[in-house]
């Protein structure tokens, strides 16, 4: 009986292996992946930008030490796989992270990759080198990084100031490529060099950015594609029509909005379109230095006036997500689950009850029907900002706040926010990694440059550190939810909803996986192939 079972099992394994082999054999090499791009990338230097416009096209030039498994839709600590590193080890208290590196890896210009390049990259990010980035938007990610040392040509160690088990999650992001030591930041902006599967060929403003296969790629047999061409088309109508007409294999990363998705599906019924959470939230920013918004009660009342379901129904066709700062399951890993979310002030589904409480707060501060608070709601002058701002203004009316829309030319938005030249604003925030360390230290920590409202809470800072040092996911999650609840109730940067959008491709594009909890980590494209 046992022998019979063994034979059956062995046959099953053989069958499965042969199926797998069949699938591998089916992959075709060659062809040019044609993707449209929404606008000229601000530069080719991923470390200097915080936008998909750079990350999506340029990610295939580089490698990280580790990366998120490109075939798994949800990024988590469990889906991190080796890239330039062959393996990694932690010391006992999780304050030293050592990577063993692949040998024989070469930069696109033929120079060898060594541990020194890793040291250089993070020294640059910490501002320790003479050559500086023009911009360094993720400096706050490395607040806890003391130094990086090259133990040998093939081993590096990240020395942290304290234990941070999730530090590796930051290194796995598409925003954490390894840069060559011998190439200047200027050249990395205009003509970047990496170790990745594709080499940069040319960028022409408003026309295209082209990449070709790295014939000497150190991962054997990869990439499958010969080239990737991103054609820049500013007009959304034109580019979506061009995709429908088959001019492109793929749309830009999450470029298809929920209303547009319906059109695409109707006109290109064979196209594969995946509507995914983008981990980009629409949120309220309140200048905590400007009276009366320096009063936490007023801010809380504003939060309680928001009917999130209305936003989701009107703008997201019922498909966007109600959440706190962190994206909840099944899309994300760390966000508050629905039952817990209901306990957060302002998230109670009974909107009238919330608003009743908010009105009572406003009355206690001297505002009522006859003495309404007048305010301007500032936002970028583009639809995805303007539309929710208009709904927000309507909601604020219910608590004796008469708000007026102040549209700001998009290029001046961050400058205005940084100057604190606003009282109330509506903003969008994307996060590179679905991990509380990235979210809290980047957006809510005292002194962080991306903490637009200037919210600073010493007690929460301690909790940020506490959760950051925790290894047990479930225990950490409890602390994270506690923090998120407090952030929402303090109106640190109250989340109105978390966005969703789609990426579409034609069926001949194979092996591409869209990710559910970050739009910044899934564009290596080394295993994507065309069945043409």
């Amino acid at each position: 009986m046992i022998r019979k079972f063994s034979i059956c099992a062995a046959s099953a394994v053989l069958f499965a292996v042969s199926l797998g082999a069949g699938a591998a054999l089916a992959q075709k090499s060659g062809g040019t992946l044609k993707v449209y791009h929404r606008g000229t990338p601000p530069s080719g230097s991923i470390h200097e930008e915080a936008t998909n416009s750079t990350l999506s096209p340029y990610m295939p030039i580089f490698n990280n030490l580790v990366m998120y498994d490109q075939s798994k839709p949800t990024n988590s600590l469990d889906t991190i796989v080796p890239d330039l590193a062959t393996k990694w080890t932690w010391n006992e208290d999780k304050s030293k992270l050592t990577f063993n590196l692949n040998t024989g890896v070469k930069w696109h210009d033929g120079k060898p990759f060594t541990a020194k390049d890793v040291v250089c990259t993070w020294d640059m990010l910490q501002g320790k080198r003479k050559a500086k980035f023009r911009k360094n938007p993720r400096k706050s990610w490395y607040k806890n990084l003391d130094k990086v040392t090259a133990d040998s040509d093939t081993q590096v160690t990240f020395h942290l100031k304290r234990s941070q088990p999730a530090f590796i999650a930051l290194l796995a992001s598409g925003y954490s490529p390894v840069y060559p030591c011998h190439v200047s930041p200027r050249k990395m902006r205009t003509n970047p060099i990496g170790t990745g599967p594709f080499k940069f060929v040319q960028l022409k403003q408003n026309e295209f950015v082209k990449f070709e296969k790295n014939e000497n790629y150190w991962k054997e047999g990869l990439p499958y594609l010969d080239a990737i061409e991103w054609t820049i088309i500013k007009s959304r109508s034109t580019r979506v029509l061009a995709f429908i007409a088959g001019r492109f294999d793929m749309t830009f990363n999450v470029d298809v909005t929920i209303p547009l998705l319906k059109d695409v599906k109707e006109q290109a019924p064979n196209a594969v379109c995946e509507l995914r959470a983008t981990n980009v939230s629409t949120n309220l920013i309140v200048n905590q230095d400007k009276p009366p918004f320096n009063d936490p009660d007023i801010r809380r009342a504003m939060v309680m006036s928001i009917d999130r379901d209305a936003f989701i129904k009107i703008l997201g066709h019922g498909q966007t997500i109600k959440s706190g700062a962190l994206l909840p399951p099944p899309n994300g890993v760390w966000g508050m689950e629905p039952e817990f979310l209901k306990t957060v002030a302002g998230y109670n589904p009974d909107v009238n009850a919330n608003r009743e409480k908010a009105r009572a707060i406003m009355k206690s501060k001297g505002y009522d029907e006859n003495n309404r608070l007048k305010v301007k709601v500032a936002t970028r002058n583009i639809a995805i900002y303007r539309d929710p701002a208009v709904i927000l203004i309507d909601h604020l009316k219910s608590i004796y706040v008469d708000a007026e829309l102040e549209t700001v030319e998009t290029s001046n938005w961050h400058a205005k926010v940084a100057r604190k030249d606003y009282s109330v604003g509506l903003n969008l925030t994307g996060i590179g990694v679905d991990d509380p360390d990235a979210m809290f230290y980047e957006n809510y920590a005292c002194g962080s440059q991306r903490n637009y409202t200037g919210y600073c809470n010493a007690d929460l800072e301690k909790l940020f550190e506490k959760q950051s040092m925790m290894e047990d996911v479930e225990a950490r999650k409890k602390v994270v939810w506690e923090i998120d609840k407090k952030l929402q109730e303090d109106a640190a940067r109250p989340i109105i909803f978390n966005n969703k959008a789609a990426t579409c491709w034609h069926p001949h594009v194979k092996n591409f996986t869209t990710m559910t909890n970050s739009v910044y980590n899934g564009w290596r494209l080394e295993e994507v192939w065309l069945d043409k």
């Binding site: 601000p42 936008t51 911009k135 938007p137």
Partner: protein
């Protein structure tokens, strides 16, 4: 005539100097600069890093110094570097200008080829069914925004032909290039052709009622000879003025058309450069356009004398 030309030349020069100051100052009056925009794409503003960037780009210098640096470099043909691509501005502009010029010429050609004869026909056949149809066409040309028309054309192509006539790759030969630009040129030229058609019609109607036309007819001249030799020759003067103005105005229409048809011309590029506050690109390009417009006006003035022998420029 010679002294008129010299006077006009110096006036042109003064106009261009004035324009260079206006262009330079207007750009600086716009809120924000490239540093603001570059930090916007990074999602934050670090005052120290921003100040370093402004210093690197010379934006911290006093405005008159910045102007002098630009204009003195421009005179010797140095256009500087694009702030966005960090490439020489001339390399960014030079390949794009011919594309827009070709598109503009095709659009203008389309406008004249359709507008002028149809205007004459409309006048000659005044108050007939043909005249009504042509007047409706010309009115629709004036009232349809070119971006809307362009999008309708694209949608019609995708829906009925499964193809989209936009620029994604450079054309291989002249024929491909002509095909590529025909539809955008027609889309942008439709409005101008409507203007030309209406103006030609009213101008022709006025001329056709003149005594010398009646005299020509009484002398037994044929309809064609009267309409196209005697009448059109005189009716075409105001039309020529409008064609001159429209040639400059086309740039505005081309911005939209280049955006919708994704043509990598200089008009769309200019708008992008303005949005990015890419001063070297905008200043040099707008100066170039100013030179072209001033030149066209100058040429139109000269053409008056050629087209109408009654006009003489006093020395």
């Amino acid at each position: 005539m010679t002294s008129y030309l010299v006077r006009r030349f110096f006036l042109m020069l003064l106009t261009l100097i004035g324009m260079s100051i206006v262009i330079f100052l207007l750009l600086r009056l716009m809120p924000g600069n490239i540093a603001d925009i570059m930090f916007d794409s990074a999602g934050f503003v670090d005052p120290a890093e921003k100040a370093a960037l402004e210093k690197e780009l010379g934006l911290d210098l006093p405005i008159p110094v910045q102007y002098w640096e630009w204009i003195s470099a421009l005179v010797v043909g140095d256009l500087g570097f694009s702030y966005v691509s960090e490439m020489p501005a001339i390399d960014e502009l030079a390949p794009r200008i011919p594309i827009t010029v070709k598109l503009a010429l095709m659009a203008l050609g389309f406008s004249v080829l359709f507008g002028l004869p149809l205007g004459v026909i409309s006048a000659v056949r005044q108050d007939t069914m043909l005249d009504y149809v042509l007047r409706v066409i010309s009115l629709s040309g004036l009232s349809l925004p070119s971006f809307w028309l362009a999008l309708l054309i694209l949608m019609a192509f995708v829906t009925y032909l499964g193809e989209i006539p936009i620029y994604t790759d450079p054309p291989d030969n002249l024929w491909d290039e002509l095909l590529l630009y025909t539809i955008p040129a027609a889309a942008v030229g439709f409005r101008t052709s409507a203007i030309i058609m209406r103006l030609t019609r009213s101008s022709m109607l006025e001329v056709l009622r003149q005594d010398y036309i009646r005299t020509a007819r009484s002398k037994g001249a044929t309809d064609n000879s009267v309409n196209y030799y005697h009448a059109l020759k005189n009716a075409v003067l105001p039309v020529t003025t409008i064609i001159g103005f429209e040639a400059a105005f086309l740039i505005g229409g081309l911005i939209i058309t280049e955006t919708v048809f994704n043509i990598p011309g200089v008009a769309h590029f200019l708008v992008e450069a303005i949005l990015m506050r890419d001063y070297p690109i905008v200043q040099n390009l707008v100066m170039f356009i100013a030179v072209v417009v001033v030149l066209i006006n100058f040429i139109v003035d000269l053409l008056y004398a050629v087209l109408d022998p009654r006009i003489k420029y006093a020395d």
